[in-house]
């Protein structure tokens, strides 16, 4: 009992402390000498004293109290989160004579979960987790806002209740359980006040440590603004068409009137002069009417165009990224250009030391270039703005390009590079330059970690049930189970101290994961943590 990390203590029904172990001394700062025979209220924060009576009442009803979470006060006045387990102390006759408590400090756990919640709450997108039965298990503030329903009422309710098409919402999460994820799934949320918000859902299953599916994690993106623009554009086209139709109508009507009037004139006026004059006047009137109509139409069109363009301005476009890309890349042009000229002695002979200095400048400028490109890819992935061009891709061609780009270079470094396309003449639909970007990232990583002079890197493709699986395998230093979990996070690098000198932006794997997922696949890693690593990219075929 004395060696426990938990505080273990006992007291009588009046709350007078009758035992106090070293765990209690450490947790609360009172020595057993100080507190024995004194009241237990010393460790109750102000306002929580009534808990003692509630505990006594429960024990008298023979109820056990376990993992009761509350706050207690230390000697220095600071508060700690604790979990209490309480049991009665009986005498030989079976009567309750006191209370024994085991107290565990859970402040650390509380802080960790508060941190996780603050991350979820920081998202402006509505996030929700759903159980296998389709019940909401957790939500963030953004979800409360968009549905207009309080968190307590949301939790435990049917996820599908909050949409204009509950059936489609149900089909959505059922598909997530079946296929592991959905991307850009369109739904409309109905607010408690009746307001409709159009959203795109991205959702995937989440699992426990053992790989059991616990539920679905779903994130919505508000696309009301985008829809508004589309609607405005459609309205503009409509109005224009309507105006044109009206114009045609009026013109036809005027012409009919003109014809009628002319006939009438011919009947009524025999005098040629009068007739001509009347005709002229009428023709002039018609011309004026036509001009006025044309002018009005033009003005209406202009007003409409102006309104639409004003409204378009309010729609977020990622101008910021475009500007940053331009401003960061521009200075690199003369830096890299002059490095090249100095290095190749175009501006005069340079000695070994100067050459080394220039090579360091060049190497770092190139690293900066790669970092800018990666940061922009990450941002576009985050904003769902990374563009893909899906085309036919011949796997023979893809792998033979890899071979010619990497084979020779790696041979010079005494590293063996092989490619194994799955089958001759197989053509798939994908974005070849983005797929190549993923391979470049993975091969680039492999090169960094293979042993000197006896490295082996193998790339290829194989068929597995209904899927096509690409892989990049190396005989490098491997990746431990623990590190595999964090591998795909942004700015993650295997060994922050030593390997940083090797270079790399720490974004390559996060981007690769993003690209593979946008292309409809999944990426995973396999390694025993000692020798060799294999990355798999799986696409349903």
């Amino acid at each position: 009992m004395e060696s426990s990390e938990d505080a273990i203590l006992s007291m009588d029904f009046d709350g007078i402390v009758t035992s106090w172990n070293t765990g209690s001394e450490k947790m609360f700062g009172y020595s057993s000498k100080e507190i024995m025979g004194k009241s237990i209220y010393s460790i109750y924060p102000t306002g929580k004293e009534s808990e003692f009576d509630e505990i006594i009442a429960k024990l008298k009803k023979n109820e056990r109290i376990e993992h009761f979470e509350t706050e207690r006060k230390r000697k220095d006045g600071s508060l700690i989160y604790v979990s209490l387990s309480i049991s009665p102390i009986n005498n030989e006759k079976g009567n309750i004579v006191g209370i024994a408590k085991i107290i565990r400090d859970i402040s650390g756990q509380k802080r960790a979960s508060a941190y996780a919640r603050s991350l979820i709450e920081a998202s402006l997108d509505p996030l929700v987790t759903i159980s296998a039965k389709g019940k909401v298990t957790d939500v963030n503030e953004a979800t409360v806002k968009i549905t207009g329903v309080q968190r307590e009422n949301l939790i435990g309710s049917d996820f599908s209740d909050y949409f204009t098409e509950p059936k489609k919402a149900r089909e959505g999460y059922e598909r997530v359980f079946k296929e592991g994820f959905v991307a850009d799934y369109p739904l409309s949320i109905r607010n408690s006040s009746g307001q409709i918000t159009d959203v795109l859902y991205n959702a995937s299953v989440y699992k426990d440590d053992k790989g059991n599916v616990l539920g679905v994690f779903a994130a919505a993106r508000d696309i009301t603004e985008r829809k508004k623009v589309e609607k405005l554009q459609a309205e503009q086209t409509d109005t224009k068409e309507k105006l044109q139709a009206e114009q045609t109508d009026t013109k036809e009507k005027l012409q009919a009137e003109y014809t009628l009037a002319k006939e009438k004139l011919q009947l009524e006026y025999t005098d040629a002069k009068e007739k001509r004059q009347a005709e002229q006047t009428l023709a002039k009137e018609i011309r004026q009417a036509e001009q006025t109509l044309a002018k009005e139409t033009r003005q209406a069109e202009q007003t409409l165009a102006k309104e639409v363009s004003e409204k378009l301005k309010g729609v977020a476009k990622d101008e910021f990224s475009a500007m940053i890309t331009h401003e960061l890349n521009t200075p690199l042009v003369p830096i890299l250009g002059y490095c090249k000229m100095l290095k190749t002695s175009m501006l005069g002979k340079i000695d070994q030391e100067q050459l080394e200095a220039i090579e360091v400048i060049e190497k770092n400028a190139k690293r900066l270039e790669a970092l800018i490109a990666d940061i922009m890819d990450v941002r576009k992935l985050d904003l769902n703005q990374l563009k893909f061009r899906i085309d036919d891709l011949s796997l023979d061609e893809f792998f033979s390009n890899l071979d010619s780009d990497y084979g020779k270079v790696l041979e010079n470094k005494k590293c063996q590079f092989t490619t194994n396309p799955y089958a001759k003449n197989l053509v798939i639909k994908t974005d070849k330059s983005r797929l190549r970007q993923v391979f470049d990232n993975l091969i680039g990583n492999a090169i960094k970690f293979v042993p000197e002079n006896k490295g082996k890197i193998e790339t290829g493709c194989m068929k597995e049930n209904n899927s096509l699986v690409f892989y990049v395998r190396d005989n490098g230093i491997g990746i431990s189970q623990e590190k595999q979990k964090e591998l795909f996070q942004k700015f993650y690098q295997i060994d922050t101290s030593e390997r940083r000198s090797i270079g790399g932006t720490g974004l390559g794997l996060a981007i690769s994961k993003g690209i593979v997922e946008k292309l409809g696949g999944t990426i995973s890693v396999e390694s025993d943590g000692k020798t060799g690593t294999t990355f798999y990219m799986k696409f349903l075929s």
Binding site: A322, T325, H326, E327, N329, T330, L332, V333, P334, I335, L336, G337, Y338, K340, M341, M346, E369, M376, K387, R389
Partner: protein
């Protein structure tokens, strides 16, 4: 080869000009779109390297003006930009008569290698 470099960033224009001159080519430089356009309207170059993002009169404005005057028919143009260019923008450029769209930063040697294809083309 007669090369015209149009770029509002004087450091970049000068660096390329220096590089290509040392490699034995003849270079002209314009630091804004309008003066670049004037040079092209009066003389044909083997190739023009055209920066797209320039204030007031951009690379796209230069291309539109050349389309209007018909001059684009017998002038090789390569665009160069530090911004990321979308597939749509690239195909629009090409449909207007631009030969290729390259991205900054670019190794001057790689750029020169690309320009070499225009060396033997006789412009009328």
């Amino acid at each position: 080869m007669k090369i015209l470099i149009i770029d509002d960033n004087a450091d970049i224009a000068k660096m390329f000009s220096k590089y290509f001159t040392i490699k034995g080519h003849s270079c002209s430089v314009a630091n804004d779109g309008r003066s670049g356009l004037n040079l092209i309207e009066n003389k044909t170059f083997d190739v023009v390297i055209l920066d797209l993002a320039m204030p007031e009169f951009s690379g796209s404005d230069v291309i539109d003006a050349l389309c209007k005057s018909g001059k684009i028919e017998n002038q090789n143009i390569v665009t160069l930009t530090a911004s990321s260019i979308s597939y749509e923008d690239e195909s629009t450029m090409k449909s207007k008569g631009v030969h290729s769209c390259l991205k900054k930063p670019i190794d001057p040697d790689v750029l020169l290698g690309h320009l070499q294809q225009f060396e033997n083309i006789k412009t009328i």
